[in-house]
Symmetry: C2
Subunit: 222 residues, 2 copies
DNA sequence: TTGACTTCTGACGTCGTGTCAGTAGCTTCT
DNA sequence: AGAAGCTACTGACACGACGTCAGAAGTCAA
């Protein structure tokens, strides 16, 4: 199953006349499609099982055949998205080529991915505090980013490219910043301008990691 | 009315025997006290009106005499907190004294404030997506920070202290970072280490604003 | 003591949830 | 073809939390 990036056609001529039966995966796809469609236009707070299944050839209780609850649905949609996203960040994470250009490429990849699945990611982000499993998924997601970024920072510190700083905290802060900014910019329609966001985020990452603070002015690291 | 910073005593010998009446403000205070107490130990998702009022000499419906709903309660608690917080950020925002030291002082102030009211702020942050008025309050809160920080950045750019960069986007990103980090660190017990957080955040702010990126390496601003 | 006023509560209707016993539609076997 | 079996599906239900309201309970002034 895959999360369609664009909003699917609302109802492109269902040929199976209502109340004929589906293969299980077909039904799942239909539910996910309806959810993506809904979240493109509304926020998670307005989503109910009834509302969702009304956009479907199935009845409300059928939802519970496939998902435990709405959070569970989000969970499975999110898992799909995460995989694709992580690959796009490879260049800098894996330390390929010139660092600052690689960082830019990785950020661009992440931004693209969020621009594509932003509304679903926003829903996950917002709903996470209200469901333990979703919360675990989200913090796992962020922690994996933190691990990867911290590892890269430490590697570059060993090479003398990055000055001594708390790698873990810095990684975590920069990732949290990206998450908040990208969700704000691409989590609902109309979305922001990817290029402008890329420039701004890249500038901050570069400054925070590779920039030199004038020693005369820096009360902490002098 | 003021939000007590420490968790109040759970029930310090109520002398008015249950079901005697209160002055309105006294009842409000009691409800707020119960809420602060609850949020110190649990997250907002587990808070219900019934649960809350059970920690009180009043009955569940009495809640609705004072607040429209739980979000409304948070709203009024948050308003209290915001005022105090903003003052503590004055040094850098107002441009007093040496910038990097002032920035540190301001950050310290904000961190102190979040350390004090973190659990309530976290509740607001988490609940905001589920209530329009709360959402408006939170984005208003963040926008006021963005305005203030962007204005300071622009002022310092005019003085040549900060290089050309998108003031608004940078301000917004740094504020979003602070919000996420501080809520994560101080939004629940046990809280993180304020000094370590201050160092890390300050380093990023300084680098992003006052740091010089080696021109040779910077593909964006060269 | 009475009356006026305010605070407060028991009881109610509503909405969304999650479940379950039972139906309906496919598939397989004889 | 017809029966048996399986699985996807549904109508109807019980539950929990919400928000409201008519009226009780407490307080104060005269």
């Amino acid at each position: 199953m895959s999360i369609p990036s664009a909003v699917p056609e609302p109802e492109a001529q269902k040929e199976p006349t209502r109340s004929s039966r589906h293969a299980p995966d077909e039904a799942r796809r239909e539910i996910v499609r309806a959810a993506v469609c809904f979240l493109a236009a509304n926020s998670f707070r307005d989503l109910t099982v009834g509302e969702l299944m009304a956009q479907t050839t199935l009845s409300r209780p059928a939802f519970y055949q496939y998902y435990r609850d709405l959070h569970d649905l989000l969970l499975s949609m999110f898992a799909e998205i995460e995989a694709g996203m992580r690959e796009l960040a490879n260049p800098w994470i894996e330390g390929e080529g010139e660092p600052i250009a690689a960082l830019r490429a990785s950020l661009r990849g992440v931004i693209e991915s969020v621009a594509q699945h932003g509304t679903v990611i926003r829903a996950v982000y917002e709903a996470a505090p209200f469901d333990e499993r979703l919360e675990a998924a989200w913090s796992g997601f962020m922690e994996r980013w933190d691990d990867a970024v911290a590892a890269r920072i430490e590697a570059h510190q060993r090479e003398g490219l990055i000055r001594p700083l708390d790698a873990r905290r810095t990684a975590s802060a920069l990732n949290a910043m990206d998450a908040a900014v990208l969700i704000a910019q691409f989590g609902r329609h109309p979305q922001g301008d990817p290029d402008a966001v890329l420039d701004a985020q890249h500038a901050i990452w570069v400054a925070a990691l590779y920039g030199r603070v004038p020693a005369r002015l820096d009360p902490v690291n002098r």
